[in-house]
């Protein structure tokens, strides 16, 4: 039980801001001393405050323990995020967290990891990539399957280029509709799991055809999650090895405000990461 007032944000200075795709910016924030970088797991989230506007829940994109900083990727979709997008380096925001369970990374050791992401859904999974690269000997292969609406909508483009060059790391990208200059894959990101797709997941085609040594991590908009679940059913990938991270509305991060309640679970404390097995036990309210 934690007794200190977790509704109170801590001040955090903006160190760097980068444009990422359409209407999306990444913010590198100074990690407050009160928060131990080692306690932050990929898949967890923080409440990010602009005082006077409010607070939004944002998943951690990366933790740099040496530089004591945190990376968030934020789309401009509402009043708080609009204000966030107007801030400059040197401004201070408030942060609370980390909240949520995060991905059980240590239980993934020895396995291959497939990251299936749509649009800004790469944001929380980027933290998984960093964890993998920092502990590369502990895992099998990493395959990043990343789809976006258009070529303008990819986030972390520089990082995607760098990841292609890393050992044991495969990166495949796709856009939803054809574009003039685009020579890569076209189609919904779930195609990468389709046995008939030419550029299909290399882990599922060759490295682990039996689906015994692979964890599939998914983050994207609800439609993409639904399509992924259908594909997983079609290819008979084991549900207990599928991890989805949800984005229900939330205000407190502590299972109190009630907004993210699904059945007997709260996305903010029992999630946001659930296995497909766990989700199948819950009402379809995500």
């Amino acid at each position: 039980m934690k007794t200190n007032n977790l509704y109170l944000p801590l001040p955090s200075e903006i160190i760097e801001i980068q444009n990422q795709g359409t209407n999306i910016k990444s913010f590198l924030l100074k990690l407050p001393e009160e928060i131990n970088a080692n306690n932050i797991m990929p898949g967890q989230f923080f409440g990010v405050s602009v005082f006077g506007q409010g607070e939004v829940p944002i998943s951690v994109s990366d933790v740099f323990s040496n530089g004591n900083s945190l990376l968030f990727c934020i789309a401009n979709v509402g009043t708080v995020t609009e204000k966030l997008h107007s801030l400059k380096v040197g401004d201070t925001v408030g942060i609370r967290g980390p909240f949520g369970n995060g991905f059980p990374m240590s239980s993934f050791k020895g396995a291959n990891l497939i990251l299936l992401c749509g649009g800004i859904g790469l944001a929380p999974l980027r933290a998984v990539v960093s964890y993998f690269l920092n502990n590369i000997d502990a895992f099998g292969k990493l395959e990043i399957l990343y789809g976006a609406r258009s070529s303008k909508d990819f986030i972390y483009k520089d990082e995607l280029r760098q990841w292609r060059l890393k050992p044991n790391t495969i990166v495949k990208v796709s856009i939803d509709k054809p574009e003039k200059e685009w020579k890569g894959n076209v189609g919904f990101v779930t195609l990468f799991l389709d046995p008939n797709f030419p550029d299909r997941s290399e882990i599922l085609t060759g490295i682990d055809r039996e689906f015994k040594q692979t964890k599939l991590l998914i983050c994207g908009p609800p439609l993409m999650m639904d399509a992924s679940i259908k594909m997983i059913q079609n290819i008979n990938f084991p549900y207990e090895n599928v991890y989805l991270t949800l984005e229900n509305r939330m205000k407190c991060g502590m299972g109190k405000c009630g907004h993210c309640n699904i059945g007997s679970k709260y996305v903010c404390i029992d999630g946001p990461v659930f296995t497909l097995d766990e989700l199948n036990q819950l009402p379809k309210e995500y």
Partner: protein, 350 residues
């Protein structure tokens, strides 16, 4: 057995004055300017109304206010200062019926599980709860169907039972026992017949309740009821999603959080009651809404009360107070929903 005393009604004012020394604010059942039952601050014993049905609004607002400041913020150049200076005055919640006592037991569990809600806890720790055996159920009441006895003292520090010219007083917690000496002159020895007083009142109150059903029998069947949309459609079709049922519910705890500027450089963050009946309650940032239909939102309220909190805390989050029935502008009756659930669930269990 707890020690029982008689407190003669002539001494009730003295009793309250002694309480007031430790707990300056006394909240109790009274009447508003339109002669309707209400919980409010009592300054004089004559304001107390103990022979009425429960107030339409529960005492929830004294532990979890409808609007509550979390902290103040102020800007200094590009930095900010936060001040969490909520002040909690010690208070007595006086003459709460067993339904409201049971609701407070639930909110205590809810607000202190996993993470402690400091704002609720601070108010709760500064509150002394005095319960009273219920003799005046309304035609909406169904506490006994929710497993609450009209004379149950659970959840109170001190419990009163009406004995005509006196109250039978029980001191039940450390908080209450530590004060007992102060009341020494007012507490008289209980007589032998007082031992059966609660039983007599329980029997009489139960007989005044219009009906009793046993929701305890729903068992596993309630899980499958979620899929039976027609069961909920019967009620959600007329629902106007006003949220009044959730606001007047003693166990509904959902809240929204907002910021407000008080002047150019400072403001406050505060929380306000929210309701799962509202469309925006579950609306995602992306514009997607997992409970976009009325039937889904009504089902959420019902399943939360009769199933989800049972799985979480082994507690129903309905105490049978009937307030949501009284306040509903279109006559939706949670008692008949509960009976439908019980019937359907028992069919499922067969």
């Amino acid at each position: 057995m707890e020690e029982q005393y008689r407190l003669f009604k002539n001494d009730l004012n003295k009793f309250l004055e002694i309480l007031r020394k430790s707990y300056p604010k006394i909240i109790g059942p009274s009447l508003d300017s339109e002669e309707k039952e209400i919980f409010k601050e009592i300054t004089n014993v004559n304001e107390l109304k103990l022979d009425r049905t429960i107030p339409l609004k529960p005492p929830k607002e004294f532990l979890f206010p409808q609007s509550e400041e979390l902290f103040k913020f102020s800007f200094k150049e590009r930095k900010f200062d936060l001040k969490d200076e909520n002040f909690f005055e010690k208070q007595v919640l006086f003459a709460l019926r067993p339904c409201d006592l049971t609701a407070i037991k639930y909110t205590d569990t809810f607000f202190t599980s996993n993470f402690i809600d400091v704002y609720y806890s601070a108010k709760r720790e500064n509150s002394l709860i005095i319960g009273i055996a219920c003799e005046y159920p309304s035609n909406k009441c169904f506490c006994t169907s929710m497993g609450v006895s009209p004379v149950s003292s659970k959840g109170s520090d001190i419990f009163l039972t009406n004995g005509g010219t006196f109250f039978l007083v029980e001191f039940l917690t450390e908080k209450a026992l530590s004060m007992r000496e102060q009341f020494a002159g007012l507490l008289k020895e209980a007589s032998l017949e007082d031992a059966t007083l609660k039983n007599r009142i329980e029997k009489r109150t139960r007989s005044l309740l219009l009906e009793e059903f046993d929701l305890g029998k729903v068992g596993e069947g309630i899980e499958r009821i979620y899929e039976k949309e027609e069961l909920f459609r019967k009620y959600s079709d007329t629902c106007v999603m006003c949220g009044a049922c959730t606001f007047d519910c003693p166990t509904c705890t959902c809240f929204d959080v907002s910021d407000k500027f008080l002047d150019k450089d400072s403001g406050k963050r505060y929380r306000t009651w929210d309701s799962c009946s509202f469309y925006n309650f579950s609306l995602h940032a992306s514009g997607y809404n997992p409970r976009s239909r009325k039937v889904e939102r009504l089902r959420q309220r019902i399943m939360h009360k009769f199933n989800y909190t049972v799985k979480q805390f082994n507690l129903w989050s309905c105490v049978g107070c009937g307030r949501c029935i009284a306040v509903c502008p279109v006559g939706i009756n949670i008692k008949s929903i509960a009976k439908d659930l019980q019937r359907e669930a028992s069919n499922e269990n067969k």
